[in-house]
Symmetry: C2
Subunit: 334 residues, 2 copies
């Protein structure tokens, strides 16, 4: 396991495009919270060990400029999961200053907890972190961009010097926040049957996946979902054409039962935590997609967005970058 | 028809609590766009005539402090609808400066348009404007609040002197933006089978409904949905207890097929167009609801929100106030 984005991390496996493989992942907190843990343990986590990732996976023939399609085929979860309220972290960090731990037992495809009696959350499992390695130039450019937000007094994901998992290269980027190359996207629609599109930045793409969530609400408001260890089976496809290449990741998903959707995302990379900027990005990318794919006039595409596209707050906690998704239901096309 | 919020507008009908009634409404643009209209006509609309409302409906026994529950039983649409890109209006008003008109023909429970060939939008009809009359004190307080936003240089819904429909009392509030008493909420989940909870501010409640939408995406990004004339049948219920009374409207709806949801909303009344403030409001109200209704610890409720509650941008165009909804799927309770 590693937990940084860096082009020098050696791949653990090499596959051909179109091939399926199963990856095994610890939970996003690296197993630091167990059935024996207490509320107080949420305050002493080593977050530097967070988001252990399976990978990198090298895809034969992938080259910068390609689009990598990750098709999510199947998820399997362990039988224990946690949701942690971590002091200083989360959308309401000012209101919830004490640590709090929800321990979930998973059985019959549902999660139940003594902390929330009477609640059974059905499985809607997905991967919270999916990303590819940045090139060396891109890595430096992204790092400087986030440093500038801190210099302006904006939020910083992780200001302190920290530990990292052993296979992480020195100087790699953290999984939080999400960026153009993916990362901690926390998009709850990435369940089995969905497809995520990421730009390829280095030869072989170097894909890593982790941070499995048994279920999560749009927004992931307290900063953790139902965090679980498990396995994910994916098929990896390469595209040379750029039809689905936009600045930020896009995806295709069964967002509502019976209404398969294609979605773009927006990340306010120059304006920390600004949801309006994120929503405008996601919407602008969706209009561009409708124009490029269906040949609509831009204004007609804009009107269609108002009529059918859903704007959702995918995550509002991965400081300094939230993710807004714009979902287009595909059953409107005859 | 009237199109202002004011306690002095005479009710058109008086009903007992629990009674059902059918209201007829023109489309939200007051029929100004027809099958004969052109793109250019979107630039010359008299927006002062917008949102013709059916009502007010007086509910016998309703008194300030009660909660009014509007149960939406059935919608029926006319066979023609429009989506208009109106210069100066909409989430991307800076990008789309020219008028544009999408004319929809409705047949077989789907809307189709020559401007968007190959598209058939299935019916998911709801009312965009639902609200009650404010008391005289509340009216003045809300007016001053919006004037202050303008004085600080913030966005103003409607700066110009304007026309109004004949039955509107002088000095009434516009339907845009949405407020504590409802108004132009544009919450696409208010389909048949849903229930909206509003605070009663004056004796008799004085409910009005209009702005029917054949369908709309979360956000209503261009500022208009699939605007249609039609009928809505509602049953009206009164509650003396405050269990579902929160600062902003809340609702219960079949948000996802098979996953009935209860939702709170957030409106950033002191911070124009700030989606983060709106999301925090909606989320805070949901945590309060989970604590009051299910007896959870607040931190456990916060964690549950992260696990299952969906944050959605219901509308981002009703300047100066967007609406964020937080949706709790009710099938998680055993």
């Amino acid at each position: 396991m590693h937990n940084r984005w860096h082009p020098d991390i050696t791949p653990v496996v090499t596959v051909a495009a179109g091939e399926a493989l199963t990856l095994e992942a610890e939970d996003g907190l690296a197993g630091q919270l167990t059935r024996e843990s207490t509320h107080a343990d949420c305050a002493t986590l080593d977050l530097g060990l967070g988001h252990p990732l399976a990978g990198p996976v090298e895809i034969i023939g992938a080259k910068p400029g390609d689009v990598l399609e990750i098709e999510f085929l199947e998820y399997r979860s362990a039988d224990f999961a946690v949701t942690a309220v971590i002091p200083g972290f989360g959308f309401l960090a000012d209101r919830f200053t004490d640590p709090f731990l929800v321990k979930w037992e998973i059985d019959d495809d549902a999660a139940r907890s003594g902390e929330l009696p009477g609640v059974a959350v059905p499985a809607e499992m997905f991967a919270g972190v999916v990303g590819v390695a940045p090139s060396r130039d891109r890595l430096e450019q992204l790092r400087r961009r986030e440093e500038r937000i801190g210099e302006r007094g904006g939020p910083v994901a992780d200001p302190a010097p920290e530990s990292a998992l052993p296979r992480s290269a020195a100087g790699g980027l953290r999984t939080i926040p999400p960026r153009e190359i993916g990362g901690n996207l926390d998009i709850r629609q990435l369940v089995a049957g969905s497809r995520l599109y990421l730009p390829v930045d280095v030869p072989g793409a170097l894909l890593s996946i982790g941070d499995l969530h048994f279920a999560q609400g749009d927004g992931e408001v307290c900063g953790t979902a139902i965090e679980v260890a498990g396995e994910v089976t994916v098929a990896l496809h390469l595209h040379e054409d750029h039809k689905r290449r936009s600045r930020f990741p896009s995806f295709e998903a069964p967002a509502r039962p019976g209404r398969h959707a294609f979605a773009t995302t927006g990340i306010p990379v120059d304006d920390a935590m600004d949801l309006t900027v994120a929503a405008r990005e996601a919407l602008g990318a969706m209009i561009d997609h409708l124009v490029a794919t269906y040949g609509f006039e831009a204004a007609a595409a804009y009107a269609l967005c108002s009529a059918v596209v859903d704007l959702r707050l995918s995550e509002v906690v991965d400081v300094p970058y939230p993710v807004v998704s714009a979902l287009l239901p595909l059953d409107i096309f005859e």
